[in-house]
């Protein structure tokens, strides 16, 4: 199931997103990409990998990589707390037609939110400063803003 960019579906269609926080910003990923949410486990660092690659965990006998989105996005790093979770997502592998699972570290899980396509705006253009190609869009939910991630693209490189 692909995460359809909001602009291409009709305004009344509602998509569900899992929202979470990273350094006080609120992000969302399509809930269909989420396999499960687990407590923070001990992460084994893997030498000679990029800094945002925190390492690997043992998820019931499966070895999965864990990505630190703070580091990936250049956010201010935060301490691990009781609320820190690992979201296991299922994304496309590099070979077409394959799927792989990965963990992403998040500060806090908020909720599963239905967002109407009409609430979603195209990602703003920040010029060269920030690449917006990893974003599905920005959604206004009541007073706050949810940044909707194209998690396949975020974790591709």
């Amino acid at each position: 199931m692909n995460a359809t960019p909001a602009s291409s579906s009709s305004p009344s269609v509602q998509q569900k997103y899992l929202t979470f926080t990273l350094s006080a910003e609120s992000y969302g990923i399509p809930v269909l990409k989420v396999r499960e949410i687990i407590q923070l486990l001990e992460i084994t660092p893997v030498p000679q990998s990029p800094s945002y690659m925190r390492g690997i965990i043992n998820l019931r006998g499966k070895v999965l990589p864990v990505v630190d989105l703070h580091r990936k996005f250049g956010l201010h790093p935060s301490e691990f707390t009781e609320q820190t979770c690992i979201v296991i997502v299922q994304i496309e592998g590099s070979a077409p037609g394959t799927l792989k699972q990965m963990g992403i570290l998040v500060d806090n899980i908020e909720e599963v939110l239905g967002i109407q396509a009409s609430q979603v705006e195209e990602p703003p253009d920040f010029g060269h400063a920030i690449s917006s190609e990893n974003l599905l869009g920005v959604a206004k939910v009541q007073d706050s803003i949810k940044i909707l991630l194209d998690i396949d693209k975020v974790l591709a490189g």
Partner: protein, 648 residues
């Protein structure tokens, strides 16, 4: 000759059917290939003939149902030809065997292409492979010699067929007439002696032809066994039924069944199997975590301790049998080699006898998948380069027929696969001269016999100028060795000029488990494959010397070995920085050695290897992960790269 009909498949409606049909067809086609080779040496083997006939029939039926016209027509023609043979209106000769094999090949081409389209690997489109010339040849074969040859083959051929694989002959011949013999072929053919006494003699043995028809590979076929029996019946009166003759004939039937008979199996997706293995591994770890938990105080409570030891046994047993599910006999891979030897020998006008030994040896299915290509290459080489032509062989007093033995067996913790030929052997001087000519070594080099043989594994050694249909398929011996090393195996050569060569491949029992040495550096755990560990030692500070103040060398009993500090390489805060506090492990790969400094040696254990997935596939230092007793992941180090000077 009518024009070739392309095949168009209807993906939307037929994909699920095709997905089920294709593996079944592939199995049938393999049976056909195997069976036709049996028929070539035992043309009157009714059960094999029936098996091939039924296989083509199934393909035809399915093709008709799925509207694969060209396939159906070809299968129909071949089926008719086989029917003629069944009725003794046609006799089996090399041409017929060729036609059957070619037919199976063509069908395989079709289904491989269809498979690719169904799986989306190829764009959907019309599929054409030439079938008309083949069908024409089949028609000629059918019309060419119809009636007159009728009962002749059955009577004429059996005595003229000396059994090629001699060793097991006497043992089997004695009990040959027993109808219960169906079980015997399950044993590997190298151990006939142990099979023979197990079965009681059946006093009322029916005529030999009947058991030949009765055994059926699957249960559904068993139901057809009765009606099938009359078909070969005419053969019985035609063949004289004296004891020795009958024994001979049954042997053929047994061999045929060795090829055709399969145990009953349940097909399970490999993903499910892998998941089961993962979960059982997890269960074992959890079990040991609980058992060691101090909260339980199991020592004080005897009943609890007993239950735990029972649980321990059960989980161990569960793990063992789960692991064994991944093991499959190498039989199918070996039997494919029959075909290759036959084709290559025919092209080169050589006469070759391929002897298979230890086909029942079980290997991890992943290894079996990977070992096929290197084996094909080496078998081709053995026929192509190893064996001499029949004339040459006779001139030097060897039997005209060359002999290649392909055997598999267990030794220690490894599986060994050997390819042995009785050909001309490797000529050391020629190898040396060629390597010098290609600029691979200097003409001054002093090499041991083993090093000279190993030259053939160098990339660029194989003579590109002699690329033929047979030995130029893009794999050289260097690729063969690479493939084997990728499976953590190794290959050795023994050879004697004029006597022949033996290639020996050593493989681990399974890809899934290694014996590992666990070391700690700070909070991290690393695993070194025990195979590459030479020794571990405590050092004193005077053993260390430096080069340029940086490169550290360790004097281990007179040998200077470069020191590699794991904490520096992996950027981990260690417990100890001085070499006399930590532990040193000497690792080697090929000729390279390194002395690795770690904090502590935690022990040696069998470790289930987990892939780290594509995210870390480019990581040169880490070969995989393993889940340790504390539930964390430990990294398995890739010693091959660790010992390279560029690693640090």
């Amino acid at each position: 000759m009518s024009p070739e009909k392309p095949i168009n498949i209807n993906i939307e409606s037929d994909a699920p059917l095709l997905q089920e049909f294709i593996p079944e067809v592939m199995e049938h086609l393999e049976n056909i290939e195997r069976g036709s080779l049996v028929l070539e040496s035992a043309p009157d083997d009714a059960s094999t003939l029936n098996m091939i006939f039924r296989a083509f029939h199934t393909v035809k039926g399915g093709a008709g149902f799925l509207n694969l016209v060209a396939i159906g027509e070809l299968a129909h023609q071949l089926e008719s030809m086989l029917d003629m043979i069944r009725q003794h209106k046609l006799r089996i000769d090399t041409n017929i065997i060729d036609l059957i094999l070619k037919g199976a090949d063509t069908l395989k081409n079709f289904f491989t292409e269809i498979d690719a389209q169904v799986k989306g690997l190829q764009p959907v489109g019309p599929i054409t492979f030439p079938t008309e010339p083949l069908k024409e040849r089949v028609r000629e074969a059918i019309s060419g010699q119809s009636a007159p040859a009728a009962p002749a083959p059955a009577a004429a051929t059996p005595p003229a067929q000396p059994e090629p694989s001699a060793p097991q002959e006497p043992a089997k011949a004695k009990k040959a007439k027993k109808p219960k013999a169906t079980k015997a072929p399950e044993e590997t053919n190298t151990t006939p002696a142990t099979v023979a006494p197990a079965e009681p003699a059946a006093p009322t043995a029916p005529p030999p032809s009947e058991p030949a028809a009765a055994p059926a590979p699957t249960s559904s076929d068993a139901a057809q066994a009765e009606p099938a029996a009359p078909a070969p019946a005419p053969a019985a009166p035609a063949a004289p039924t004296d004891a020795g003759e009958g024994g001979q004939r049954m042997d053929k039937a047994q061999m045929a069944r060795a090829a055709a008979a399969e145990q009953s199996f349940v097909k399970v997706g490999t993903q499910k199997l892998d998941m089961l293995v993962d979960l059982v591994g997890e269960l074992v770890i959890t079990q040991s975590l609980i058992a060691q938990s101090p909260h339980l105080d199991a020592d004080a409570k005897q009943a609890l301790a007993r239950s735990f030891s029972h649980l321990h046994r059960v989980t161990k047993e569960l793990q063992r049998s789960t692991m064994s599910m991944r093991m499959v006999p190498i039989r199918a891979t070996f039997q494919k080699m029959n075909r290759i030897v036959r084709d290559v020998a025919a092209k080169q006008n050589k006469r070759v006898q391929l002897v298979l030994e230890g086909e029942g040896t079980e290997l991890d299915r992943n290894i079996i998948e990977e070992i096929g290509d290197p084996l094909v290459h080496m078998i081709r080489n053995a026929v192509d380069h190893g064996l001499e032509s029949p004339e040459e062989r006779e001139a030097i007093g060897k039997p005209a027929e060359g002999r290649i033995v392909l055997r598999a067996f267990h030794q220690g913790g490894s599986i060994i696969i050997q390819i042995q030929d009785d050909g001309k052997g490797l000529n050391q001087e020629r190898l040396f001269a060629k390597a010098v000519e290609k600029g691979l070594i200097s003409s001054q080099a002093h090499l041991t016999e083993k090093e000279i043989f190993d030259l053939i594994f160098l990339p660029g050694f194989s003579t590109a100028s002699t690329v033929t249909d047979i030995s130029g398929r893009g794999v050289g011996m260097d690729v063969v060795r690479q493939n084997i090393e990728k499976l953590r195996g190794k290959i050795e050569i023994e050879s004697q000029v004029g006597k022949g060569s033996t290639f020996t491949i050593f493989m681990p029992l399974t890809l899934a488990i290694i014996d590992g040495l666990i070391v700690s550096v700070g909070p991290e755990r690393y695993i070194l494959p025990t195979l590459s560990v030479r020794e571990s030692l405590r050092a004193t500070s005077d053993m260390l010397s430096t080069v340029y103040g940086r490169g550290e060398l360790l004097n281990v009993r007179g040998h200077f070995i470069p020191l590699l500090r794991l904490h520096d390489l992996f950027d981990v805060e260690p417990e100890f920085r001085r070499i006399e506090d930590g532990v040193l492990v000497v690792v080697e790969f090929g000729r390279m050695t390194r002395c690795i400094l770690a904090d502590r040696l935690l022990g040696k254990q069998e470790i289930v290897i987990k892939s780290l997935g594509e995210t870390f596939q480019d990581n040169r230092l880490v070969a995989g992960g393993a889940i340790l007793g504390n539930g964390r992941v430990g990294l398995i180090l890739n010693v091959a790269n660790l010992v390279q000077p560029t690693a640090c």
